[in-house]
């Protein structure tokens, strides 16, 4: 369950406040995969951060129940000077796993990422695709109710994309995703409903195809 109550979020800029969300009230439909659409700078990533509990609205509340993943994106969440292994270990530890459990998950993550020797090298030597693999694989080691994905599927090779889709599919009866992407085919394939973000408001469309159609019409206009 995720509900936004009178949520207002803005960024202070030298030219005044830049509003991302203006007094938004919305309840995310349960048990379905949600696509978030909107042009650049409309606050899609900020919305994911609010949902993930790592950023806070200026007014209002974000209420949620269930285990929600961290926003899986291309930046943040890793310390470049440390190896992929140590970064993954860190995540397992903050989720309170015992040391045995940590090592078991590390095995799984190492195998899933297919990073090989790179797993023990500093993350700053990774390509963006490799970073995405690490972030995605780490989150797959946990059982979240909702996975937040911020453009993470945009990178990575075909093989890894298929692999991650299969892993998500396996979790599908228990878990759902909330996804930000600019790849419309992908959103139509993976999501059931769409949320269109525009000028501080959120519009919910029960049918993902409708949301995509509206987004694309706005793009042309």
């Amino acid at each position: 369950m995720i509900r936004l109550e009178n949520v207002t979020k803005f960024y202070p800029t030298p030219k005044g406040r830049k509003y991302i969300l203006c007094d938004v009230n919305i309840e995310f439909p349960p048990k379905c995969n949600i696509a978030i659409l909107g042009r650049n700078g409309m606050g899609k990533s900020t919305l994911l951060r609010l949902l993930g509990g790592i950023d806070y609205p200026n007014r209002g509340h974000v209420r949620s129940k269930g285990r929600i993943s961290w926003p899986m994106g291309l930046s943040g969440g890793v310390q470049g000077s440390m190896s992929g292994r140590d970064n993954a270990r860190f995540v397992c530890r903050i989720y309170g796993d015992s040391e045995d459990e940590v090592e078991r998950k590390i095995e799984y993550i190492h195998e899933f990422t297919e990073l090989g020797d790179y797993f023990d090298m500093p993350v700053k030597t990774y390509s963006s695709g490799m970073r995405a693999r690490l972030s995605f694989a780490t989150s797959m080691a946990f059982d979240f109710d909702i996975y937040l994905m911020d453009e993470i599927t945009a990178v990575g090779d075909q093989r890894f994309k298929q692999k991650s889709r299969a892993a998500l599919q396996e979790k599908k009866d228990k878990a759902n995703i909330i996804k930000v992407s600019h790849n419309m085919q992908e959103l139509i394939r993976d999501c059931d409903v769409g949320i269109y973000l525009e000028k501080g408001q959120m519009h919910l469309y029960e049918d993902i195809e409708e949301a995509v159609a509206i987004y694309q019409r706005e793009q042309v206009a």
Binding site: I54, G77, V78, S81, F90, R93, I94, G96
Partner: protein, 260 residues
């Protein structure tokens, strides 16, 4: 089963602590030996200066031993504050996980520094007693434990305060070393004991809690050490006040440090 906030914080601080262990001396080849070599370098240089000026003891205490028992607590305080100021900024990427709050890297750094301080203090005394044949006997062990416990508390309070304001106002990171650490090095009873300063200046110097801490370290350590009007109560109250202020500052500002 949801975890309690305390369990979550414990797990986070532990995870951060393990990272810090690996990276603390990352840049330096000497690694943890540096924790020992740095105070030793201070002691060697300063003893050389004192002996060039013809001083070999302060009220019966050999100068190197006097210097060591002051330099080590002082360096702990100074280094830990400096590390706290950068703790939040350098772990910003980890706030990507909702469990990690800005205070957590501050706490884990203080814990690590405290351990490093404790071990290097013991080892330095061991070196002085075993290899250099100084008579290293603690005069009042309970007092020594008490004053160092208060030093930990003071460091936590001041460290937390500076981590909050250093993150909100990054200018502070440049100013604090020049405006606070530099003068304190000369005025905290490390280079020379308080009793060599004329008494009419004492009431000015004694506002500095670190002077109390260093002097009390000497008093509890050496029998017959002379000091001025130093007080354990003053250190206690100062430590309590700074911890309260640090926690309040954090409470009032933590959202600003996380939210973009």
């Amino acid at each position: 089963m949801p975890r309690s906030p305390f369990e979550i914080q414990k797990a986070v601080v532990f995870a951060l602590f393990v990272r810090e262990l690996k990276t603390r001396f990352g840049k330096y080849r000497l690694g943890y030996a540096w924790a020992l070599l740095e105070p030793m370098a201070h002691v060697i240089v300063l003893s050389a200066i004192w002996s060039a000026m013809g001083r070999s003891e302060f009220s019966g205490i050999p100068v190197p031993l006097f210097l060591a028992t002051g330099i080590v607590p002082y360096l702990f305080f100074q280094k830990t504050i400096a590390k706290c100021m950068h703790a939040i900024e350098s772990n910003r990427g980890l706030f990507n996980y909702r469990q990690v709050r800005p205070i957590d890297p501050v706490i884990s750094r203080i814990i690590l520094e405290s351990i490093v301080y404790f071990v290097s203090y013991l080892m330095l005394l061991f070196i002085a007693g075993w290899f250099l044949d100084y008579e290293v006997g603690v005069h009042d062990l309970l007092g020594l434990i008490a004053i160092n416990a208060l030093l930990y508390l003071l460091t936590f309070g001041v460290g937390l305060t500076f981590s909050v304001y250093g993150t909100l106002y990054p200018e502070m990171m440049k100013l604090v070393p020049i405006l606070i650490f530099r003068p304190m090095y000369f005025m905290s009873g490390i280079l020379f004991p308080l009793f060599v300063v004329p008494t009419e200046y004492h009431h000015w110097l004694l506002w500095n809690p670190l002077l109390h801490i260093v002097e009390l370290n000497h008093l509890f350590f050496f029998r017959g050490f002379e000091s001025g009007d130093v007080s354990l109560l003053f250190v206690f109250l100062f430590a309590l006040a700074s911890t309260t202020f640090g926690l309040l500052s954090y409470r009032a500002n933590w959202l600003k440090m996380v939210a973009t």
